[in-house]
């Protein structure tokens, strides 16, 4: 009896509190401008931040919604599914807030797919763009971060080939890269993680508009601390990915022995491992890469049924991989950016020595000697085990 009194009473109180206070965080779907991609550039004066965002228009094509939906485009051409908003601000945060003055809806960030930073902006340091991202609970850490050699805004503006939401297409493109593993894909979160350790160099995907004005992914952007220091191409990128063990699949093309054409090997499984040991503050780094691959295709008539042939192919593959890694390593040493995270490896190996090494890492890294062990093994050779040759 008493209990029910209490229950009803409490419900009454809850109702009172709710009605008395109204609803705060309530936001209807159609009041949101869902951001699919954002780009940061330097404004007119370098102090300013120029923010370009791509906002999804909920088109009536999807979901069989009702008729009342105004998208600015004419009926004839397929309507562009996104709207572009630009805004300035002293800081990124202010720029985001200012966007409201130019746009009917409040920007809604959680579904942001890609975050592009322009070259100049990146060279001045990206912290003040990212800081807001990580503080503001809305931006997800799983958004992909990219650097463009030109203006980020142009990439945000660039329409997608499929008439889909451009940012989505870029994201899909990025994820499709695992087929070749020549483009590293780094989330906003990976970036911050690398930024957190003083020595490891943050990485971001390099994205640019080629001559035809299409969006294309090219290599990787390398940071030192929070500042952009340079780009590396696809070859070096793969070299980098071998070491940090981010290779999912891909194709290694090797010259067949006795120039019997080329053989392309599909990577089945690849693992990279960094081992560091220190004795009286001299650092010794060993990189072990272990690759399993299978015959993908071959030009020319190399008889692949013989084990020794396979072995020689494996050896050649190993050299190819070693070259790629060395290229990446050379580039990294030029830029003096520890893209592989050797520093952290040392830290893990023995943190006492690291305490002394860490401040001097910039001197150590450029003349760091790395022992490179690449083990390759061709386990599968496809459905046929002989070349197709008329005999």
């Amino acid at each position: 009896m008493k209990l029910q009194n209490r229950l009803t009473f409490s419900i009454l109180i809850i109702a009172m509190t709710l009605i008395g206070s109204g609803c705060w965080s309530y936001r209807e779907l159609e009041t949101l401008g869902i951001v699919s991609g954002a780009g940061f550039d330097l404004g007119k004066d370098p102090e300013q931040v120029l923010l370009t965002v791509q906002v999804i228009k909920a088109s009536k094509g999807k979901g069989g919604g009702n008729g009342s939906l105004g998208d600015g485009q004419g009926q004839g051409s397929r309507p562009q599914p996104v709207a572009i908003v630009e805004s300035n601000g002293a800081t990124a945060f202010e720029a985001v807030r200012n966007a409201v003055s130019k746009f009917s809806r409040r920007l809604y960030w959680p579904h942001n797919q890609i975050l592009i930073v322009g070259k100049e902006a990146a060279e001045n340091g990206v912290k003040n763009y990212l800081n807001f991202g990580i503080r503001q609970t809305e931006l997800r850490p799983t958004a992909w971060i990219m650097i463009s050699p030109g203006k980020a805004g142009d990439l945000i503006r660039a329409p997608g080939e499929m008439g889909q939401i451009p940012a989505m297409e870029i994201k899909d493109m990025l994820q499709a890269q695992s087929a070749t593993s020549e483009i590293g894909s780094f989330t906003f979160y990976d970036f911050i993680e690398r930024l957190m350790s003083k020595t490891t160099a943050p990485l971001a995907t390099q994205i640019r508009l080629n001559k035809e004005g299409e969006v294309e992914l090219a290599g990787t952007a390398i940071f030192k601390g929070e500042k952009l220091v340079g780009f590396i191409g696809k070859k070096e990128t793969r070299g980098l990915l071998w070491v940090i063990g981010k290779i999912k699949s891909g194709v290694v093309i090797v010259k067949a022995p006795a120039n019997k054409g080329k053989v392309s090997l599909g990577i089945i499984h690849a693992a990279g491992k960094i081992q560091a040991e220190t004795k009286n503050d001299s650092v010794k780094i060993t990189v072990k890469v272990n690759v399993q691959s299978g015959l993908g295709e071959q030009t020319g008539d190399l008889d692949t049924s013989k084990p020794e042939v396979i072995k020689s192919l494996a050896r050649r593959e190993a050299t190819v991989i070693r070259n790629e890694i060395n290229a990446a390593f050379k580039k990294a040493q030029e830029l003096n950016a520890d893209i592989f995270g050797f520093g952290e490896a040392v830290h893990r190996a023995d943190f006492k020595a690291w305490k002394k090494l860490e401040p001097r890492w910039d001197e150590i890294f450029p003349k760091l000697k790395v022992k490179l062990i690449v083990k390759t093994n061709i386990s599968l050779n496809g459905l046929i085990n002989k070349p197709i040759s008329q005999k």
Partner: protein
């Protein structure tokens, strides 16, 4: 029968306006007159005066209510033996021993009793008996000659099942108890009759298995029923509302069913059943919350599918109370939780809809309820058209007119359908749904969880005849939990009765009675 009479006596002892009932007079005519006046010469009261053993002057009379008694029975087993000449009554002395002689050797009816109190005669006549009065005796015979119209036993519409028995209770108490007896041959099956309702004089019957059911439970039930002091009991629900533990709670604390097999199953688990004359619904107590999700079909399906379907039922209940709230919370508060594509789709669908999501959901819910109610109330053939018109036409039209978004219609429809999967808890689920949806409209997921917490606390505090409603989840009994809650264990694994209900006698069968072919070296006898 003796016991019932005793009960009737006890019942009357409570009513002062009859307790001052006088005894019968010796004069027949006087008695008949006072009977007539007592019953205000009702048109269905039939008084047949006759002469005993073919004598001219009338010495006896039968009194009964037309329609309540079987006339053939009266004629053949009462009037005939008394009126025919060869019945040697005249040489018997007047008065009681003549009546005794009649009772012992003339009347050929099974159930018969002697009465000397006036009001008891009246009561007997009103309950479908035939009273035989003879001149010069201060006593009369109440002869059971029941013969009123009754519905035939068939499958109840409310609880249709696929496999299993097809019979269901009807409005007549005796038939129902007979159905139960046919299921439970155990002599321990006890039926205790009480009479409630000062004017309806409804017969209420408590059924339980003596050595299984908790004596305290039975005592409690009897006390509560005797505490009832209302003028009329017309349905089992009335009794339920008058004796349940938490009258103000919107959760039911007593189970109901129309199926003899269900009742006997519950009795076997140590519960007690309450039959109420005049309604096919039988109440069972104590009631566990989990019983809302148990259907007789679970036990006729094989155990795997039985368990699976039960989990579907849990899910359906979850949907029926949570889906609208979750929809509101997702679309109005936590859009970041939706997959991007879905978010875009829904944004497109709700683009330009005038009302906020909460209003849509609640409004459509109300409309649905109205349509449902209409479909039930008006005659069947029209009812279906109404529901079709309502569901399809209105639903479709509102969407195309852009009054509500298509997702809302889907949500409401889905909710409605899944709420009918667990019919016994459909009322509760509606109230909960309403409250939680409103909370979600204010506070999103936080509101939902707060609402669920409040309900959980309330449920945890409820008891049904001393048994916690949430048992066996809380307080937790693993055996009962694994037998009949998480999975529907195969019959040979249901070793025990629910601990919370039948604690003093828990074993149902030998501990490990798994069936199987005889292994070699062991004969059929010793296994």
């Amino acid at each position: 029968m003796k016991r019932e009479i005793a009960k009737v006596k006890m019942e009357f002892a409570k009513e002062e306006f009859i307790t001052k009932g006088k005894d019968l007079a010796l004069n027949l005519t006087a008695n008949l007159d006072s009977i007539q006046s007592e019953l205000n010469n009702s048109s269905d009261l039939i008084i047949r005066r006759f002469g005993l053993g073919g004598s001219r002057q009338d010495q006896g009379a039968v009194v009964f209510i037309d329609g309540l008694v079987d006339k053939k029975e009266v004629e053949w087993s009462i009037l005939r033996p008394l009126m025919l000449k060869e019945a040697p009554i005249s040489d018997k002395p007047e008065g009681e021993d003549r009546l005794e002689y009649i009772e012992l050797s003339l009347i050929t009816v099974g159930e018969i009793s002697r009465e000397h109190q006036f009001n008891r005669i009246i009561a007997a006549v009103l309950s479908g008996k035939t009273a035989l009065l003879i001149d010069g005796s201060g006593e009369a015979l109440a002869i059971a000659t029941p013969g009123w119209e009754k519905r035939s036993v068939n499958q109840p519409d409310s609880e249709v099942i696929v496999k299993g028995p097809r019979e269901g209770f009807i409005e007549t108490l005796r038939t129902n108890t007979a159905l139960l007896r046919r299921k439970l041959g155990d002599p321990g099956l006890t039926l205790e009759a009480l009479q409630v309702g000062t004017r309806t004089k409804t017969e209420v019957c408590i059924a339980y298995l003596k050595d299984i059911a908790d004596p305290k439970l039975i005592k409690e039930i009897k006390q509560r029923i005797n505490r009832i002091n209302t003028d009329g009991i017309l349905s089992a629900e009335t009794v339920e509302e008058l004796i349940e533990d938490a009258p103000l709670s919107f959760f039911a604390t007593m189970g109901y069913t129309e199926r003899p097999d269900v009742v006997s199953a519950k009795l076997l688990e140590g519960r007690a059943a309450i039959f109420v004359d005049g309604t096919p619904v039988v109440l069972t107590a104590p009631f566990l919350f989990i019983e809302n999700f148990q259907s007789p079909d679970d036990y006729t399906y094989k155990t795997y599918y039985g368990s699976m379907i039960r989990w579907f039922r849990y899910t359906a209940f979850g949907i029926s109370i949570l889906l609208p709230a979750i929809y509101v919370a997702l679309t109005a508060f936590h859009q970041e939780l939706l997959p991007t594509q879905l978010l875009i789709t829904m944004a497109a669908a709700t683009e330009g809809v005038p009302f906020p999501g909460v209003v849509e959901v609640l409004g459509l819910g109300v409309i649905f309820e109205i349509i449902r109610e209409a479909g039930i109330r008006i005659p069947r053939p029209i009812g279906q058209t109404v529901s079709i018109v309502g569901a399809l036409v209105i639903g479709e039209a509102t969407v195309t007119a852009g009054l509500v978004g298509a997702p809302v219609v889907i949500v409401v429809a889905l909710t409605a359908i899944s709420s009918f999967v667990t019919p016994s808890i459909v009322q509760e689920s509606k109230i909960i749904r309403l409250g939680i949806t409103i909370l979600a409209g204010f506070l999103g997921a936080f509101g939902i969880t707060i609402g669920l917490l409040a309900i959980l606390i309330h449920l945890a505090s409820l008891r049904s005849f001393g048994v916690p409603l949430l048992s066996p989840m809380a307080p937790m009994h693993l055996r009962s939990l694994t037998q009949d809650v998480l999975i529907r264990a195969p019959w040979w694994m249901m070793f025990t009765r629910p601990k919370a209900i039948a604690d003093q006698n828990r074993t149902r069968q030998k501990f490990y009675s798994r069936p199987g072919p005889p292994e070699e070296g062991e004969s059929e006898e010793n296994r």
